[in-house]
């Protein structure tokens, strides 16, 4: 099997990132459960992180981003955690007020 012999490159990571991103995005677009949407968000962020890490990795490129890539990923993770907390709080509130977690029912403000 050739792939196992070939060295891994940035592109490989980018593909994984792309898959995660698209999966997350589709997840957000299709799940009616608000928590499912949230999981889609996590996937999307993770896909972005994979890219950052790949660009910052010294093993993959000579002119890599170095610590900057990892630092940005750190902030992404931290913000994702924060976002999850707030989103969960919103979800709970939504549930308290509407007794549902179906995002399709969250249309009180529609135009």
């Amino acid at each position: 099997m050739v792939p196992l012999v070939a060295q891994i490159t940035v592109s490989h990571y980018l593909v994984v990132g792309a898959v995660l991103f698209v999966t997350g995005a589709v997840c957000m677009a299709t799940k009616r459960n608000i928590l499912g949407v949230l999981m889609g968000v996590e996937l999307v962020l993770n896909g972005a992180n994979v890219n950052f890490i790949a660009f910052g990795s010294p093993f993959l490129r000579e002119h890599h981003l170095g610590l900057d890539g990892q630092l940005i990923a750190v902030f992404v993770i931290v913000l994702a955690a924060a976002e999850a907390a707030v989103a969960l709080a919103i979800a709970l509130n939504f549930y308290n007020n509407h007794t549902t977690i179906d995002v399709d029912r969250a249309e009180d403000l529609k135009g």
Binding site: A25, M28, A29, T30, R32, V103, A106, D108, K110, G111
Partner: protein, 821 residues
Amino acid sequence: MESLPVLLGLAVLAPLASFFVILLLGPSLGHGGKSAAYVAIGAIVLAGLLSFISLGIWLANHWPEAPHDDHHAAASEHAGDAHEGESQNAKSAHDSHASEGVAGDSHAASHHGSTPPKVSGEYYVLAKIGDLQLSISYYIDSLTIAMFCMVTLIASCIHVYATGYMHDELHDITDHEAHTADGEHVHRPGRFHRFFQYLSLFCFSMLGLVLAGNVLMVFVFWELVGICSYFLIGFYIERKSATNAANKAFIVNRVGDFGMIIGLMAIWSSLGTFAFDELFEAVRPGPSHVLQTPDGMVYASAQDRVRDIARELGPDATPDQLETAIQERATTENWRNVGPDGKAPGYGYWLLIVAGVGIFCGCVGKSAQFPLHVWLPDAMEGPTPVSALVHSATMVAAGVYLAARFYPFFAPEVLFVIAIVGAITLFMAATIAITATDIKRVLAYSTISQLGYMMLAIGMGGWLAGVMHLVTHAFFKSLLFLCSGSVIHAVHTNEMPEMGGLIKKMPWTAYTMLIGCLAIAGAGIPFVIGLSGYYSKDAILEQGHLFMTTNPGWGAVFFWAAAGGAAITAFYMFRMWYMTFLGKPRNHHRYDHAHESPWSMVAPLVILAVFAVGVAWPIPFSSLRLSTLLEQARPAGGLNDMQGVLVNMVWPNEHDSHAASHVIPATLIAFGTALSGILLATMFYVWQPHLAGEVRQQFSPIHRFLVNKWWFDELYDWIFVKPTHVVSGVAARFDRNWIDWIVDGSAKVTRRFAYGWEWLADRVVVDGFVNVFAGWMYSLGLATRRVQRGNLREYVLFILVGALVLFVVISIFRVTYAGGS
């Protein structure tokens, strides 16, 4: 020595800290704010400790040395051992700083031209504006240290005393002397903590003033002292008389300060500095320290001449050339000492006089000298501890202190003015005091009179005599005030005619007050020993005698004013004491209620009495005494004979006054005048009590003149107040009739215009535009609201599609325009 600025700086800050603590915590300190007193006492006692530590450090470095035998030996022989204190200090200045002084150049200095040992420097530079440097600086010499010790000691006593005197303020108070609009007595909460808050601030201001190293800083603390006295005099703010007195004190002081500001402007505009060091060096440059007009003042006055020189040199001259030319001309034409036309005075001399008189104007206001003395008697409206503090040791002392501090800057003409003002003040105040019946007013006029003595001494060149009298007077005058406070506390009135016979009820107060009276009268055994006043007053009279020998005309006036004043002083002081403590009780109701004051008030009396007796005593077997300590601070060149330019007089060397030919007559005259004054008082008020009334009737015009305080208040009312009322009435009418009409009219026009403009600009243009725009936005919103369906997942899809479209668009752009691959 390096620790002195720190120690004294802390001593200054301690009362300030106390002020802030009481300001912030105030009534919550103990019951009714009682602990505020402890805070304030702690602060001032701490300051006192620091001051005495500083004194110790100073003495360790600059022990006042015993004088050598020189040409004054004869005087010493004549005066004998009994007069040791006075004769020895005369010589101590010669080598008072043989030890290493911070001033540095003491070795090369001549006999009369050495600079006093001092520590000066800057704590912090506040700002630098051009050449002007505003800084918090210090100037410490033995005068500073002596003032610190004196102020903190007296203030500590007064603080302790005040805890007893003011204890009524711990509770709610009904003020029987103040009335509300409906005629009720004013009922108010106690202000115990407030009182101590002000006291602390006051002590801070006074100590800061003494420590200050430049005139501007002195001025700032000067004003702080003024505002504190305003607060304290007006402490019973509900009483009309108290507020009036406070206002009066404040406003009259402003008059003096106006002069002082003129002096400051003259100094800064010509010399560009406020620091004592630099000013003194400019006026009396070493090593001879002879007074001369400083360069800055010469150039400032000779502006026309300078301009002429510039014109002669032409426009191409460089500044250096101009400078050289000016200096050359100034030397050859002798600008400084003789005017260009050969007549005195030279350029800048008038400026020097203006600066000196200006500064002295401040002293006049603060020390209640002749034209501006009117505030001080009224200031007795404050609580008695305040009177004691404000009007003996601190505020009024500030003026004398400044005059003494600024002594090297004063031209002979200024000294002449000072002497005249002092002489008038001392005589006038003494005469008024004879007829006053309010016990505190007697003391107030006595204070004015004694301040006049100090000013007179300084004006006659008796620097040491004046300063020494400042210190001794502070002790016995605060003692007297506190005694009078004790009496007032006991009988609840200020009027002496309602007292009498109190010696049985309050012996401590009576005997301590007797000590105070003796001290102020200058009692003592001639040539042997005496109370503190004996030393200082005799020194003044000696200087007066010396001055009289050198300048027979004016000198005689000054000397006999002083001598007469001494007699009157003794008279009215004993009159007061007799009326208060001897004889039969004139008001039995008050007499029955009288009682000795609590220990917290008596103890300070005893302490102060001890000091009033012995503060000027020589310490046995050592060269240390008040006079030798102060002698160390004698300004450089302060012993030079000075010849007036505008007045044809000579200011003699103070040391010459210790010659036997001056000491013996002066001492005898002082003794005689004091004795005669006391005997006269005893005769009028003890042996032949009816005589007083008869004399009063016989000399009723003079009596009326004196009772009405020489009609000064009425005079000022006529000269200043009435015309002001007339002018302001006219101005008010003009205001109402003309200016108001213009203003109202233009307002009306503007209003009309605004209505019209509002309709045109606002309603039509602006509103129209906004409404149209809002309409557009509204329809746009209506058009686009369909998209907002509230479906989260659709939004996500939109985003994705948008991202895709962006990619596609950018790709097309790249391929088409950028030629990308």
